[in-house]
Symmetry: C2
Subunit: 333 residues, 2 copies
């Protein structure tokens, strides 16, 4: 079980996590590159430290890197000798692209103590002032592992998220995570941005904007978030986003051709193709509580067991013991 958690970076994600863990009775030690959030954070029961070395001397069970990706190499370099002296501390992070972080962590020689994590939570705000423990209400995290991940490292991070943050997890390899995140977030962010670019280029943009209602507002909301943050996220996952953008472009071109040819049956297929997702959403919203059951986690090949569980649509809500997870059976698409 986790007693002390170190948070590096008190922005929206890190600040919200620190506040939530403190609220739920975990000892939280935190460091931020500028001390401006410290007075308020201390008032929230967070122990603020003036250096990363001081944070590490609190001997945290888990250190969560919530800093911007561009600060990662410097912070990892600083952590390297400190983690050598704290062999039981597990390192994790909250980045939205996992392959690149693991590469950086391995390059810093810290692969052995690392488990990736990505909370599916956030909003269009940023910084400590927007930090809110409710950001994590009902959130699901991806926890990413590879074949070398030590099970006890995984278990520290997984039990912190399920028991201490009170959230659900799915366990993935980095590639599956990054492809999935490209599908439901990184590529759609580009599409949303392309929509506002198209409007801006439209000679009747003021008329179009006046006519806009719920559809336009919802589809362009993420294009209004900080474009530099979106750009960084997209560039970190460039390979996967590129593939999906080409697939989307070809879907839109095919539909343009079908409209051009008034090809009623192809147009009909286009509007029916997503029905499995529509049924899944209807099932999700008609379900108050998912059936739960236990899942035995083997010592060998546990990564695959947990990945297959995620692929079936299951999510881990907690642990009975080290080798027994509680999973939710969710509808599949």
């Amino acid at each position: 079980m986790v007693d002390t958690v170190g948070i590096v970076g008190l922005g929206l994600i890190g600040g919200s996590l620190a506040r939530r863990l403190a609220q739920r009775g975990i000892k939280v030690v935190a460091w931020n590159h500028r001390p401006h959030p410290y007075a308020q954070a201390e008032a929230d029961g967070i122990y603020c430290k003036s250096t990363i070395a001081e944070l590490m001397s609190a001997d945290p069970d888990v250190v969560v890197l919530c800093n911007p990706l561009k600060a990662m190499p410097a912070i990892l370099a600083e952590l390297k000798p400190l983690l050598a002296k704290s062999p039981r501390t597990t390192l994790t992070d909250v980045g939205s692209v996992k392959g690149m972080v693991r590469d950086q962590v391995k390059a810093a020689g810290l692969g052995e103590c690392y488990v990736g994590a990505h909370p599916m939570a956030g909003n269009e705000l940023s910084g400590w002032r927007a930090a809110d423990p409710h950001l994590y209400d009902d959130a699901l995290w991806a926890v990413t592992v590879d074949e070398d991940t030590a099970y006890n490292r995984f278990f520290s991070v997984a039990s912190m998220i399920t028991h201490d943050v009170g959230n659900r997890i799915i366990v993935l390899d980095d590639e599956t995570h990054d492809k999935g995140a490209a599908m439901i977030s990184h590529m759609p962010h580009v599409v949303s941005t392309a929509l506002i670019n198209e409007l801006t280029a439209n000679p009747d943009r003021n008329v179009a904007a006046a006519l806009s209602a719920g559809c336009w507002r919802d589809m362009t909301r993420v294009a209004l978030t900080d474009p530099d943050r979106t750009r960084a996220m997209v560039e970190e996952d460039a390979l996967n986003v590129e593939v999906l953008l080409r697939r989307m472009a070809s879907r839109l071109t095919a539909m343009a051709d079908q409209l051009h040819n008034a090809d009623a049956s192809a147009i009909g297929r286009f509007f029916a193709e997503g029905d499995p997702f529509r049924r899944y959403k209807a099932e999700m919203s008609s379900t108050d509580a998912f059936t739960r059951q236990e899942l035995e986690i083997p010592e060998q090949g546990w990564q695959q067991t947990l990945l297959f569980s995620a692929r079936r649509g299951e999510a881990i809500t907690g642990f009975v013991n080290l080798r027994q997870a509680i999973i939710e059976l969710r509808p599949a698409i």
Copy 2:
């Protein structure tokens, strides 16, 4: 000024409009192809009629066609002899594509008494049971006219919307409307549908769905609405949607190429291109009330005067008299 309004079709849009007008003291006569909403509508103060002829015998100032487009030819044929006996009744509708409705109205020989209208209001529901007068809270309508539209016909519809529904209007020709609606609604509906099609085709769709949060939920909301209704709307505006889908496909392909080549400056331009729209949204949300001023409407070329006003981003909130509108000066993009 308008005393009596006829509503043909008590679905979501027509039912909400009937309830709103009745609530605001207008005499509303209504007809629906099936009488199931009548008991509740009568309780709301709406006079329900068993035939369109009975509705017309109440001598409404304006008749609003809120029926599905596929019922339009039959209803127009039925209205033709009735409108011949009620020369002061003005005909309007609420369809989301205006060129096609005007064509049908002209084909029925009713062009002289017709003014197009499209309230930018709606949600994912449908039918009388979802009808809610608040659907029109703060709504803006497009009112569409052509060079043959009689000013007094326009004024009846415009003053019904501003004075009796309590909404704002912009005045457009059909083509400008249909291009604008394609930009902010019809084309984005196709994009949203393509997104759920792409997810459904994804081998890791359950993982991707589990990872999905606010971005995905917002960008696919309209794809979950009745796909038949979306399909009809897109097919009615096929020409404009086709052009915009090709433009979007080329934007997405260009971005895929730029990611492939890691072309930092082109990627930077892509994320900056929509800044004028971002600034417009920031201005809109920081403004509590727009400056209002009067706009003189000339007898000759009034259509152009009002179209240019819409293109500048202005909206009409009411009328001082027949030739004097009150306009809101809204931010321009």
